[in-house]
C-alpha cells in the first residue's frame, strides 16, 4: 500500500515491536503476541510493523489462518515459505514430514537467513500443526534473528482452545512480548471522525471504540450499517453451534438488552448455547440481561434474518412483553408490533405511546409513534387517519419541524375537505398558517389564515373560529399592524369567553395586553403582568412563555435596557425550565441586540453566533444576522455582507417590519461605514422607513432617518421620532449624546457627536476616542477620515494601546454579578438586588466561572480584580 495508515493509541505496541526489531537486527530474535478483540486493529499494527521492519532493512513475510471449518495443516507457514521462495522448506512441507523435519527445515531457514520479521495472523483459527511449530520455534527465539509476530482474538479463547495452550507453553520463554490492543478512547474516535459529518460521541457509543467498526461506519458515510462489518460479524456467527446461532437470531430482534426470561421463552433450554455465545465474545451480560457486545453486530445478524423468521420472533417477543406492566414496556411493545406487522396492535398501542411521550415533552418521539400508526392507514377510516395526521403534525410543530408538520397538515386537509368537515378544514388551515410563519413564508401564512376565517365564518361560531381569529390577530401583531390586529383579537377574546375556551381566551388577552404594552398604553406593564399571572395560575405554560417573550421584546424595542435585561433573563429561565427551545432562540437573538445597543460588541457577536449555530427559525436568524453583521461592520472585520445580505433576504420574504427594519438599518449603517453598496442599502432603507412610519415605530424611524442623513440622502417627510434621534437631526448633537447616555447607548452617543457638523474639535476627538474604546474601529476610522477631509486636526488614528476591557467576553449582566460577588453578596442577596430568581443568579455565576476558567467565587473575584475589572482600569 502506498499510504501510511493512521494508527491511534498504538504507540506503546509499536514501540515494543520496534525494540524487538532492533534486537533482531543485532541477532536476537523474539516472539511478539498481539491479542485483542475482533476489529481492534491487530492487522493494522502488523502492517505498521512490516513497514518498520522494511525501514530497518529486515526481510518481512506474512501469513494468516483462514476461518475454515477444517483448517489447512501448517497453512500460515506454507504461505510464508512460499512468499520467501524458500525452495528447501517448501519441498519439505509438501512432502509428508513429521514434526521434527518441519522444525529442522525452518530452523535452517531462520539461521541462515538474515534478520527478518514473520507475521502470522489470526492464530485462533490455527491448526494444530501450526501451533506446534509455533511453540517450538518460539521457545528458542533467541537463537536466530527472527521476530515472530503473532496475532489472535483474545476474546475468543476459552480455556480449551489450542492456542491458549500453545501460548501457555511459550510464557516461560525469555524472548516473549505480550501485547494487548484495546479499543480506542473517545478522543481517538473523535479524531477519526473529525473529517466526517458524524457525531463523534454517538459513534463511540455505537462502536465502543472498536476501530474496525469505527472506520467501517465512517467509510459507509451514512451512519448505517456498512457491509464489511456485517460480513465479518456474520462469518463469526456462522462458526457457532446451531443452538447458539438460534440464540443470536433471537437476540438480534431485541433492541438494547433482553431479559434472561425473555430469551428463555424464545429459545427454551438454551443455557449452554447462551454461554457459548458469551464465551465467543458475541454476547455480554450485565445486571439486567444479555446484549450483543456491539450494536453493529446485532444489526448485522438481524439484517441476515429471513423475514418470516424475524416476524415470528417479533410476535413471540410481543406476546411475552404483553404480560409485563404495560406502561414501562410500551415503547418496546410498539417496536415489536411494528416489526411483526401487527397493524391491530400498532393502532392500539402507538397512539397511547405517543400521548405519553407528548405529555413528557418528547415530541419527536410522539410524532414518530403517530407516524407508525399512520402507516397502518389502510385499516383506518378516513376521519381517524386525518385525525392522526393532525396529531402527528402537531407534534412535529412542537418539536420544531414546521416543514414536516406543514406536509402532514396538507394531507389531513385534503381528507377533511373530501369528507366535507368544514370545521376541521378551517382548524387545519389555521394551524398551517402558524407553520408557514415559522418557515418565514409570510405572504402564504397570511393567505392561509384568511382562508381559515372565510371557511369558518360560514359556520355557526365554534372554538375553531375563536382559534382562527386568534391566529389571524397574531399575524397582525407580528406585523405591528394595530388596526388589523383590532379587527380580530377582541372578537377572539369574546367568542372564547362565551365558549369557555380558557386557552384561546387567555391567548387573546395576552396578545391584547402585549400590544397595548408595545404601544405604551400600559406603562410599567402592570396589565400585562397581571395577564401573565393569570396564565401561570391556570398552568398555561406556553402562553406564559410567549407573553414573557413579548414583554422582554417590548422593553427592548423601547430601549429600556435595564428592564429588557431582567425580563429576558426571566423569560429564558422560564423557557429553559419548560423546554420551549423555540422561544429561547428568539430571546437570545434579542439578548444579542441588547448587548449591541449597550455597546458590548463582543457579547453581541458571541450571542448572535450561538443563535445562528443552534436555531433555525427565520425571524430569529434574521435578527441575529443583523446584529452580527453590524458588529463586524463597526469593527471593520470581514464577513459583513454575508451576514447582512442574508438577513435582508430572510426579512423581505417574511414580510414583517420587525425583521426588515433592523436588517435594513444595519445594512445602511454598514454601507456608510464601509463606503460600499450604498445605493442598494439606501433603497431598502427608504422602503423600510415608509412601513416604519405607518406603524409609528419612533425608534426605527429615527435610526433610518439619521443614517440616511449620514449617507447624504436626507429624507424630508418626517414622522414622530424618538428623542435622541430627533435631537441629532434637529442639529443638537450634544443634547442627543446626553439623551443617548441616559438610555445607555454609548455607541450612538459617540456617533452623534463624531458625525455632527457643528461641534467643538475637542468633543469630536473625545467621541472618536470613545468609538475606539468601544471596539468600533471601523466607525472611528471612517469618521476620522471624514473629519480629516474637513480639515479637523489631530484626530486620533487608532487605539494606541491595546486595551482589552472585557477579555473574557462577560455580558453586561455577568459583569454586574461579578461586581456583586466582589461585595461578597450571597446568591439570595444578589437575586434580590438584580430582581431575578436565585436560579438565574446561579446560572450567571456558572457562566462566569466557565469564562474565567475558575471554580470558586473567591478566585473569580481575585482574577477579575487583578485585571482591573472593578474600579480603576489599567492606565491608557
Amino acid at each position: 500500500m502506498a499510504f501510511e495508515e493512521l494508527l491511534l493509541e498504538r504507540d506503546g505496541a509499536l514501540g515494543a515491536i520496534g525494540a524487538c526489531l532492533a534486537q533482531a537486527a543485532s541477532g536476537m530474535g523474539s516472539v511478539v503476541l498481539i491479542g485483542g478483540e475482533a476489529g481492534v486493529g491487530k492487522s493494522a499494527v502488523c502492517r505498521a510493523a512490516v513497514r518498520d521492519a522494511a525501514r530497518r532493512g529486515l526481510a518481512t513475510w506474512s501469513g494468516a489462518c483462514d476461518a475454515l471449518s477444517t483448517p489447512q495443516p501448517l497453512g500460515p507457514f506454507l504461505e510464508v515459505a512460499a512468499q520467501a521462495g524458500e525452495g528447501a522448506v517448501l519441498d519439505v512441507l509438501r512432502g509428508a514430514p513429521n514434526g521434527h523435519e518441519v522444525m529442522a527445515s525452518f530452523v535452517k531457514w531462520f539461521k541462515l537467513g538474515g534478520p527478518s520479521l514473520l507475521v502470522l495472523e489470526d492464530l485462533h483459527w490455527a491448526d494444530e500443526a501450526s501451533l506446534d511449530l509455533l511453540r517450538q520455534l518460539g521457545r528458542r527465539a533467541q537463537s536466530w534473528p527472527v521476530v515472530l509476530l503473532v496475532t489472535y482474538r483474545d476474546d475468543e479463547l476459552d480455556e480449551w482452545h489450542p492456542l491458549r495452550r500453545a501460548l501457555g507453553d511459550l510464557s516461560g520463554g525469555e524472548r516473549l512480548v505480550r501485547l494487548v490492543l484495546y479499543p480506542l478512547s473517545p478522543a481517538a474516535v473523535a479524531t477519526l471522525a473529525a473529517e466526517h459529518d458524524v457525531d463523534a460521541q454517538a459513534l463511540f457509543r455505537l462502536t465502543e471504540g472498536n476501530p474496525f467498526f469505527v472506520t467501517e461506519v465512517l467509510a459507509s458515510g451514512d451512519g448505517l450499517l456498512p457491509p464489511a462489518v456485517r460480513d465479518a460479524v456474520l462469518a463469526r456467527a456462522a462458526r457457532l453451534s446451531r443452538p447458539a446461532r438460534e440464540v443470536l437470531e433471537a437476540m438480534a430482534v431485541i433492541p438494547l438488552r433482553a431479559e434472561i426470561e425473555l430469551l428463555g421463552s424464545l429459545c427454551p433450554g438454551s443455557e449452554r448455547a447462551i454461554e457459548e455465545c458469551q464465551r465467543k465474545g458475541m454476547l455480554v451480560s450485565d445486571n439486567t440481561g444479555l446484549r450483543f457486545r456491539h450494536e453493529l453486530a446485532r444489526t448485522a445478524i438481524e439484517s441476515d434474518l429471513v423475514a418470516s423468521k424475524a416476524v415470528q420472533l417479533h410476535r413471540k417477543v410481543l406476546a411475552w412483553l404483553r404480560n409485563r406492566e404495560e406502561a414501562q414496556v410500551l415503547p418496546r411493545l410498539v417496536h415489536h408490533a411494528v416489526a411483526a406487522g401487527d397493524a391491530g396492535s400498532v393502532l392500539e398501542l402507538a397512539p397511547r405511546a405517543a400521548a405519553r411521550a407528548s405529555a413528557l415533552g418528547a415530541h419527536r418521539e410522539a410524532a414518530a409513534y403517530y407516524g407508525a400508526a399512520v402507516l397502518c392507514a389502510n385499516q383506518l377510516g378516513l376521519a381517524e387517519l386525518a385525525n392522526l395526521l393532525c396529531l402527528q403534525a402537531r407534534e412535529c410543530h412542537r418539536s420544531d419541524e414546521p416543514a414536516a408538520a406543514l406536509n402532514l397538515y396538507k394531507r389531513a386537509l385534503a381528507i377533511w375537505d373530501g369528507l366535507g368537515n368544514t370545521a376541521r378544514v378551517g382548524e387545519t388551515l389555521s394551524r398551517m398558517a402558524n407553520c408557514l410563519t415559522k418557515l418565514g413564508r409570510g405572504a402564504e401564512a397570511l393567505e392561509a389564515a384568511d382562508r381559515a376565517l372565510v371557511v369558518l365564518e360560514a359556520l355557526p361560531p365554534g372554538k375553531e373560529l375563536a382559534q382562527a381569529l386568534l391566529t389571524r390577530g397574531g399575524h397582525a401583531m407580528r406585523r405591528s399592524d394595530h388596526e388589523d390586529f383590532l379587527r380580530y383579537t377582541p372578537r377572539a377574546l369574546c367568542l372564547a369567553e362565551e365558549l369557555g375556551d380558557q386557552g384561546v381566551a387567555l391567548g387573546a388577552l395576552m396578545n391584547l395586553r402585549s400590544m397595548a404594552f408595545y404601544r405604551g398604553e400600559d406603562p410599567g406593564g402592570q396589565l400585562l403582568n397581571e395577564a401573565i399571572g393569570r396564565a401561570r395560575d391556570a398552568g398555561m405554560v406556553e402562553h406564559v412563555a410567549v407573553a414573557m417573550m413579548n414583554l422582554a421584546n417590548a422593553h427592548l424595542q423601547a430601549r429600556d435596557h435595564g428592564a429588557a435585561a431582567s425580563s429576558l433573563d426571566a423569560a429564558i429561565a422560564y423557557n429553559d425550565q419548560y423546554g420551549f427551545d423555540v422561544f429561547v432562540g428568539a430571546m437570545r437573538a434579542d439578548r444579542a441586540r441588547l448587548a449591541l445597543e449597550t455597546g458590548d460588541l463582543t457579547a453581541a457577536a458571541g450571542e448572535a453566533t450561538e443563535v445562528l449555530r443552534r436555531y433555525q427559525a427565520a425571524e430569529t436568524r434574521a435578527s441575529a444576522l443583523a446584529v452580527l453583521g453590524l458588529v463586524r461592520a463597526r469593527r471593520g472585520d470581514p464577513g459583513v455582507w454575508e451576514a447582512l445580505d442574508e438577513a435582508c433576504r430572510i426579512a423581505e420574504r417574511a414580510e414583517e417590519v420587525q425583521s426588515l427594519g433592523p436588517a435594513a438599518a444595519a445594512r445602511l449603517e454598514a454601507a456608510v461605514l464601509l463606503s460600499a453598496g450604498l445605493e442598494g442599502a439606501v433603497g431598502l432603507a427608504i422602503t423600510a422607513l415608509r412601513v416604519a412610519q405607518e406603524r409609528s415605530f419612533t425608534w426605527l424611524c429615527g435610526e433610518l432617518h439619521t443614517w440616511l442623513e449620514r449617507a447624504g440622502r436626507p429624507q424630508r417627510v418626517r414622522s414622530e421620532l424618538a428623542l435622541p434621534w430627533r435631537l441629532e437631526l434637529d442639529g443638537d448633537p450634544c443634547g442627543a449624546a446626553e439623551a443617548w447616555r441616559m438610555v445607555g447607548c454609548p455607541y450612538e452617543a459617540a456617533m452623534a457627536v463624531a458625525c455632527a457638523k457643528q461641534v467643538g474639535d475637542d468633543a469630536r476627538r473625545a467621541a472618536v476616542r470613545e468609538l475606539h474604546a468601544l471596539g468600533a474601529g471601523q466607525a472611528a476610522s471612517q469618521v476620522s477620515r471624514r473629519l480629516r477631509d474637513l480639515g479637523v486636526r489631530q484626530v486620533p488614528r487608532g487605539a494606541r494601546r491595546a486595551t482589552a476591557a472585557n477579555p473574557w467576553r462577560l455580558t453586561a449582566r455577568e459583569t454586574e454579578v461579578l461586581g456583586l460577588l466582589a461585595r461578597r453578596q450571597s446568591t439570595s442577596e444578589m437575586a434580590a438586588a438584580l430582581v431575578v430568581s436565585p436560579r438565574t443568579v446561579e446560572h450567571h455565576v456558572a457562566a462566569i466561572f466557565d469564562k474565567l476558567g475558575v471554580h470558586t467565587r473567591h478566585d473569580a473575584v481575585q482574577l477579575a480584580g487583578a485585571r482591573g475589572v472593578f474600579g480603576t482600569a489599567p492606565e491608557r
Binding site: T602, D637, P638, A802, R809
Partner: protein, 109 residues
C-alpha cells in the same frame, strides 16, 4: 475554514524566540479549544508589530482567542493564501529554487 490575517501592535517589544516559547505554547493550547489554528506569524524588526495568519471559523473566534491569550487585535482581514508550489511544476518535494529554474528553462525553449 477561512483564513484571517491579524495585524497587531505592541507597546512593549516582543520577547525573543526562546524566552517566549512557553507563552506561545499556551496560546496554541487555548486556541485549539476554539477551533482557531495559529498558522504562523511575522514580527517586524523593531519587535513592535506582528502579523499573524490563522485558520478559524469566524473573525469573532479569532478575537476571542486573542482575548484569552491577552494579545491585542489591530485589524482582521480574510485572506486567500498563495503558495509558489501551487504554480510551479513538480509535486512540492523539490525546492522552490529548483522548480523555478525549471520554469525558466521552459520559457527559454
Amino acid at each position: 475554514m477561512p483564513r484571517y490575517l491579524v495585524e497587531r501592535t505592541f507597546d512593549d517589544r516582543l520577547e525573543g524566540q526562546a524566552a517566549a516559547a512557553a507563552r506561545w505554547r499556551r496560546v496554541v493550547c487555548s486556541n485549539a479549544r476554539l477551533e482557531v489554528t495559529w498558522l504562523h506569524s511575522y514580527v517586524s524588526a523593531d519587535r513592535h508589530r506582528m502579523i499573524c495568519l490563522y485558520e478559524a471559523p469566524s473573525p469573532e473566534a479569532v478575537r476571542h482567542a486573542a482575548a484569552i491569550s491577552q494579545l491585542p487585535v489591530g485589524s482582521i482581514t480574510e485572506v486567500l493564501v498563495l503558495d509558489p508550489f501551487a504554480y510551479l511544476p513538480g509535486d512540492g518535494t523539490r525546492s522552490v529554487a529548483a522548480a523555478t529554474e525549471d520554469i525558466q528553462k521552459e520559457t527559454l525553449e
